[in-house]
């Protein structure tokens, strides 16, 4: 079985003009960093993988995840998690409800609740379930966003400059947390950044887009 995330000869064009071309493979537990100046199409590549590419762009090549061809699948059927620079917690839901939104279906109400509480405790946020996300600090939000994503049990993780909004000390903490959790679950991770420190911390291959 071809485990991992395959980005096979993907070419993205915008209005007929070639934007980027990439061919890479991320094995489970590996972090591949994609670097390049802004405007090079890093985010476009991520939206191609999540399935939210605007129709102004056209895509050739193939994206496969654990042997499954993702091309043409709607975003919710791809099993690809993504974290953005902002935590993007749903502001109308409590912290617990945000996690419940991510948590895979199944289990009784009590089981789900216990699972969410345990997850919060795991990242040092025990008892935070009823809180309003707007009252959380930046680091706390980032942790909730990560756990919400992991509870949906994705098969791969995309990171769209997720650490650039945090200050230096916090950045290191959150970075370590994200990479540790991804490795522990054996997720292939694709990190998009323009920060060399992120690439070094990721410790994996670096693909440079020009």
């Amino acid at each position: 079985m071809d485990k991992g995330l395959y980005v096979n000869k993907v070419k993205i064009t915008h209005a007929g003009r070639p934007l980027l071309a990439i061919d890479t493979h991320v094995t489970p537990g590996e972090v591949v960093t994609i670097m390049g100046p802004s405007g090079v199409g890093k985010s476009t590549l991520l939206s191609a993988i999540t399935g939210t590419l605007s129709p102004d762009f056209s895509l050739s090549g193939q994206i496969r995840l654990n042997g499954r061809d993702l091309t043409g699948l709607p975003p919710d059927k791809r099993g690809i998690g993504i974290l953005f620079q902002d935590a993007l917690l749903f502001p109308h839901l409590s912290v617990g409800a945000n996690l419940a939104f991510g948590l895979k279906r199944g289990g009784t109400k009590a089981e789900r609740r216990a699972r969410i509480e345990a997850t919060l405790a795991e990242v040092g946020l025990g008892g935070f379930a009823p809180r309003d996300p707007a009252t959380l600090s930046g680091g706390q939000r980032a942790r909730v966003a990560l756990m919400r994503m992991l509870l949906s049990e994705p098969h791969a993780l995309l990171l769209d400059e997720p650490f650039s909004g945090l200050d230096a000390e916090l950045r290191e903490q959150v970075r370590k947390l994200v990479f540790d959790h991804a490795k522990a679950r054996g997720l292939p991770v694709l990190l998009v950044t323009h920060d060399e420190a992120d690439a070094i911390a990721a410790g994996g291959r670096v693909v440079r887009l020009k």
Binding site: T52, P55, P74, D76, L88, F90, P91, H92, F101, M149
Partner: protein, 565 residues
């Protein structure tokens, strides 16, 4: 298979919306053209003939009625736009501006009829203003025999329209200002030595105007063809052309319908002509402004103009406020002799007397409004969501489509709609009235939801989808709850629009659907101020109450992230 089914389901909303929006307009125009050219089987005539036009041209009031429609309409539009520009140029971005905005915006949803009655109660010979200065200044101990209301030149009518349309244009401009970088344009021009007002007019206004051009056209065509305000404040012999059309439409003699249809086409032609004239005027003003810019006028002495703008804005909001207040006082007035400022006694008798009829009208009004808004909301959200999922953007042409029902004069197509319904033998009941209201409710729903909908961060949808949520789940669980505040506002706007509709209710309802608005305006001729006070106040309350309910602060009181905006 599933893919194509989804395709059809999604294309359904835009198609239905266009049908609901334009169907009645097109059908109504067709129903106007037929009788205008002598084809009206219900009255036993079949054309084609030009008799209707001949009768119309032979009506002695034809020339004056046309002239009135054009002059009052153009004057109201020009004045509304000028005052709006004056206020914005003199004050935008200042504390004074925020005060004016707060003074004026609550009146946006006050029905035109109630505002017009309020103005009438203020300035009538026996109104509050005359009472205030009598007898110590004027020497009047009886209401003077002056023709203030319904003056033959339509001056009061024009003022009444400006009073309601200026706040509309002002708020549309404020929305437009948010899309352009007005502050920096101002700072740049002022640093080159331009005075405040000149800087704003030269550097900011052109960009604002480009964005409010359609609302300005709405104001122009509405002012030329309005019926309810013209019945209350306008002259009566002859009235404006639109009022005359409605009079003919209400005549028991069906033969007058032909003349009404012919007049409706003339009204349409007048409006088209005036819009053409307006476009020419735009060019002329732009040319003049360019000449002024070339000459390098800095315009430093703008203090009097600034004050004039502020004074006018304050006066308008004061007139609206005092007008509504005098409606309220008349509704509880017992004996009230001239020139006393307040009634001798206050009484609940007027309310008791009109209790059952006003209650029936209230429920009818709300039933129609809620049905129209519910249907309109489903269509609007369906369209917005379709555009989001297929990554479509509303083009300039699409915007025109949305504004079209507001730009085509109501008196041009609603009479035809009634004639068509009559011809098909269809019952002119509640359902057609709701359909007619939808034509006017839909554009406002779309206009008030469009901005917030597009401003929503679509990464929220990406995150939710990455968490395994389908399109529908994202819509119901994330997007709509997050947009609750603008949704409630849109609902309130839609209800207010429906509550205020006069002509669609009167004509399409065949005179048998009695809402607060039709009842209030039916009272205009009688001049029973106490009854007008009761119905005018009820109408205002029906339009404004939904805004009190639009308090998402209650639903989201524990969610800081949703409380501002």
């Amino acid at each position: 298979m599933a893919q194509s089914r989804r395709f059809y389901r999604l294309a359904l909303f835009p198609a239905l919306t266009v049908l609901v929006l334009l169907g009645p307009v097109a059908a109504g125009l067709w129903g106007t053209v037929l009788p205008a050219f002598g084809h009206f089987p219900a009255a036993g005539v079949s054309g084609p003939s030009l008799d209707a036009f001949r009768d119309l041209f032979n009506w002695p009031g034809f020339g004056p009625a046309m002239r009135l429609s054009v002059t009052t309409g153009l004057a109201a539009a020009i004045l509304s736009l000028t005052i709006t520009a004056l206020i914005l140029a003199g004050w935008s971005g200042t504390r004074g501006f925020r005060i004016l905005e707060r003074l004026l915006s609550p009146f946006l949803s006050v029905p035109h009829a109630a505002a017009a009655f309020g103005l009438a109660f203020l300035i009538a010979p026996s109104g509050w203003i005359a009472r205030l200065f009598s007898p110590w200044l004027t020497g009047w101990d009886r209401p003077p025999d002056l023709l203030i209301l319904n003056d033959p030149w339509g001056i009061v009518l024009t003022l009444g329209m400006v009073m309601k349309e200026m706040p509309f244009l002002l708020l549309m401009s404020i929305a437009a200002l948010g899309q352009i970088d007005g502050r920096r344009r101002m700072a740049l021009s002022q640093s080159m030595g331009y005075g405040r007002m000149s800087a704003w007019m030269f550097a900011v206004f052109p960009a604002v105007y480009a964005r409010i051009r359609l609302p300005v056209l709405v104001v122009l065509t509405w002012s030329m063809s309005v019926v309810d305000v013209a019945v209350i404040l306008g002259p009566s012999t002859p009235p404006t052309l639109s009022v005359q059309i409605v009079r003919w439409m209400s005549d028991p003699d069906l033969a007058f319908r032909l003349q009404a249809a012919a007049a409706a086409l003339v009204q349409l032609a007048l409006v088209i002509g005036a819009v053409g004239l307006w476009f020419l005027g735009e060019k002329l003003v732009a040319r003049l402004a360019c000449l002024r810019i070339e000459a390098g006028h800095r315009g430093h002495h703008d203090r009097p103009l600034r004050l004039a703008g502020f004074a006018t804005g304050t006066a308008i909001s004061l007139a609206l406020l005092l007008g509504l207040l005098s409606l309220a006082i008349w509704s509880v007035a017992g004996f009230w002799s001239f020139p006393d400022l307040v009634p001798d006694q206050l009484t609940a008798r007027n309310w008791v007397r009109h209790y059952s009829s006003s209650q029936d009208a209230f429920f009818e009004t709300m039933l129609i409004a809620i049905t129209a808004v519910a249907i309109g909301l489903i269509l609007t959200i369906g369209c917005l969501e379709t555009e989001h999922r297929r990554n479509l953007r509303l083009t300039q042409r699409g915007m025109w489509l949305i504004y079209l029902p507001l730009i085509v004069p109501q008196t041009a197509f609603l009479p035809g709609l009634q004639t068509l319904l009559l011809g098909f033998g269809l019952d002119m009941g509640r359902a057609p009235v709701v359909t007619a209201h939808l034509v006017f409710v839909l554009p406002y729903l779309r206009l008030s939801l469009d901005g917030p909908w597009q401003a929503w961060d679509t990464r929220q949808a990406t995150v939710a989808a990455a968490l395994g949520a389908s399109h529908d789940r994202v819509l119901w669980r994330i997007r709509l709850p997050m947009l609750l505040a603008p949704l409630l506002t849109a609902i309130a706007v839609g209800l207010a629009v429906s509550v205020g509709q006069y002509l669609p209710t009167l004509l399409v309802g065949g005179g048998r659907i009695e809402t607060l608005t039709t009842e209030a305006i039916a009272l205009a001729a009688g001049g029973d101020r106490r009854a007008i006070g009761v119905f005018g106040l009820m109408q205002t309350a029906a339009a404004l109450l939904p805004f009190a309910l639009a308090l998402p602060a209650l639903v989201w009181r524990n969610r800081k992230g949703l409380l501002h905006g």
